[in-house]
Amino acid sequence: MRAEQISVFLENKAGRLAEVAAILAEADVNIRALALADTSDFGVLRLITNDNQKAMQALKNRGFTVSKTDVVAVEVEDKPGGLNRILDILHQAEINVEYMYAFVQHNGKNAVMIFRIDAIDEAIKLLQKNNITVIEGSQVYTM
């Protein structure tokens, strides 16, 4: 039930994000979700695309450092308390969320959030037990 994310190392300087976007456009890759974490010197761009393999190859060919990480895509009710419910379940089980970000598109009526969790399998089992929908990777890329 895992989904796959790619991460790209970027120096914190003008034009780097635009360069990544241009490379992906050229490779005909569509970005499904993204988040950027930055410090004063560098940033880490996390991406989920419709074709991670192709995106990764295109970026590597252009000299970027890229890695793959497994994440969890979770449906979140689009109403007050929706996110809180999920975080609460994880918190109660002492599962730590490294970071998270939102998907561009809804899945039906629900929002979709990406969670980066070390104890990933444990988290998936726990969420499913609590009747929370974890979205299959293959479905995430083409949503």
């Binding site: 994310q5 190392f9 120096e11 560098f42 880490v44 450092t65 890695s67």
Partner: protein
């Protein structure tokens, strides 16, 4: 003031007789007590009896930093450890430092030469010496300290750092002589200004600066900002420490080498050929009074020239000009010797990969800064920012711990570091000295 009139102004002929006698004794000493030298002499079919004149010294092969490294830590010591009373160390080209030892007599000789140096730079027994050279394995702090005590001056062992506290001490204790690296001195001047303290109101008369390259421009800036006379001092731990050579404040034109203890030569660093006076090349020293750590024809890697002209101060000892560069890639950052290969060892030690890196040296607010750029390859990369930040911190911490110098570590994209003919440019030194 000339502290030791007898030796420092001795007619050249008499001096050369003493030098030859001392050289012969040193050759006997190393042949008998340092297996490295005995082997080297035997390989070159030289016996101590072959050294009959100063000219004969040329027959003996050079000693290099590599020889010291091969004999790490105590292999070059010429006396049993029972007789060694002090050990100092400086950076080596790999992770291992260069280790030097002193007998009680060596420490006394060093103190005497350092006292001569302080006197040549304007100090007397009535002075208060603010010694801002670092104390520790580095020879700067303790070398100056013992010389100051030998001279009979009052020494404040303030060491490096805590700059604001140093300014307060200068204001309250009224030191008259400053000993520090030239770049730290200019930093002191800036901090004093920020604190509203004018050096013109302080009691400094003379400053004795060294342990890093500096220029005539820096001398003028220091003299003007601190309202003092500034002289250059030279030394290296392998030969003794500070006090191998000193500028007299009368001429301020080249550093007198204490020739009754050290024989200088200038060689062509490529061929090893000895060059005549006035020509620029690599400085080579032979120690002729040291007991614990004598060195024969040691290649300093410092580039300079020798000037035999008589000096207005009355000293007869030959002068070396300012060190104008190095024959290797050693950097001196805030008085600390740094080799790029040491940084490489630190990086290798962290991830067992050899990353592309570059050292950028700058001088900001009069202080040297070192920035280490590290290219983030896949093996170093993580999707988590905290992992990357920890990497930066760890590299910085290890550089500080192993090399004793503060560095800012900056992660950069692959191929961000310029390559010339496929080879990464390891050092960019932006300092204008």
């Amino acid at each position: 003031m000339i502290l030791d009139i007898g030796f420092e102004t001795m007619p050249r002929e008499d001096l050369e007789a003493i030098v030859l006698r001392r050289l012969k004794a040193t050759i006997d000493h190393v042949y008998a007590n340092v297996p490295f030298y005995r082997k080297k002499f035997e390989e070159n079919h030289i016996t101590p009896n072959d050294i009959k004149s100063l000219e004969d010294l040329k027959q003996i092969p050079f000693t290099t930093k590599k020889d010291l490294r091969d004999n790490y830590p105590f292999g070059m010591f010429a006396v049993p450890m029972d007789n060694v009373v002090r050990i100092h160390a400086s950076s080596g080209t790999t992770g291992k430092p260069t280790v030097v030892g002193y007998t009680a007599r060596d420490i006394n000789t060093w103190a005497e030469l350092m006292a001569r140096a302080l006197a040549a730079g304007g100090a007397t027994r009535g002075d208060i010496i603010h010694n801002a050279y670092g104390y520790g394995l580095f020879t700067g702090g303790l070398g100056v300290h013992y010389g100051a005590e030998k001279l009979g001056a009052s020494v404040i062992p303030v060491s490096g750092g805590n700059t604001k506290r140093q300014i307060i001490i200068m204001k309250d204790f009224g030191p008259t002589i400053l000993t520090a690296t030239p770049s730290y001195t200019l930093h002191l001047a800036e901090v004093a200004e920020e604190m509203g303290v004018s050096f013109r109101d302080l009691k400094f008369k003379f400053g004795i600066f060294g342990a890093e390259p500096w220029s005539e421009n820096m001398r003028q800036e220091i003299e003007q900002k601190l309202n003092i006379i500034a002289v250059d001092i030279y030394g290296l731990s392998e030969i003794m420490g500070p006090g191998v050579a000193i500028e007299c404040h009368e001429a301020k034109k080249g550093l007198h080498i204490f020739e009754d203890h050290f024989i200088p030569e200038i060689i062509d660093p490529g061929t090893g050929e000895v060059l005549p006076y006035g020509e620029t090349g690599e400085l080579v020293f032979t120690t002729i009074t040291k007991e614990a750590f004598p060195l024969i024809r040691y290649r300093t890697r410092d580039i300079t020239s020798l000037n035999p002209e008589p000096c207005i101060c009355g000293r007869t000892h030959i002068r070396m000009n300012r060190v104008s560069g190095r024959t290797d890639d050693m950097l001196i950052i805030r008085g600390v010797n740094v080799f790029p290969s040491q940084i490489e060892s630190v990086l290798m030690g962290i991830n067992e990969v050899e990353p592309h890196y570059q050292l950028i040296v700058d001088r900001k607010d009069k202080l040297d800064t070192l920035t280490v750029l590290v290219e983030v390859e896949e093996r170093l990369f993580s999707d988590e920012v905290k992992v990357l930040q920890n990497l930066e911190r760890k590299v910085s911490k290890n550089i500080k711990e192993y090399l004793g110098v503060s560095a800012k570590v900056k992660l950069v994209e692959p191929k961000a570091i310029a390559r010339s003919q496929g080879k990464a440019v390891r050092v960019i030194d932006n300092r204008k000295i």
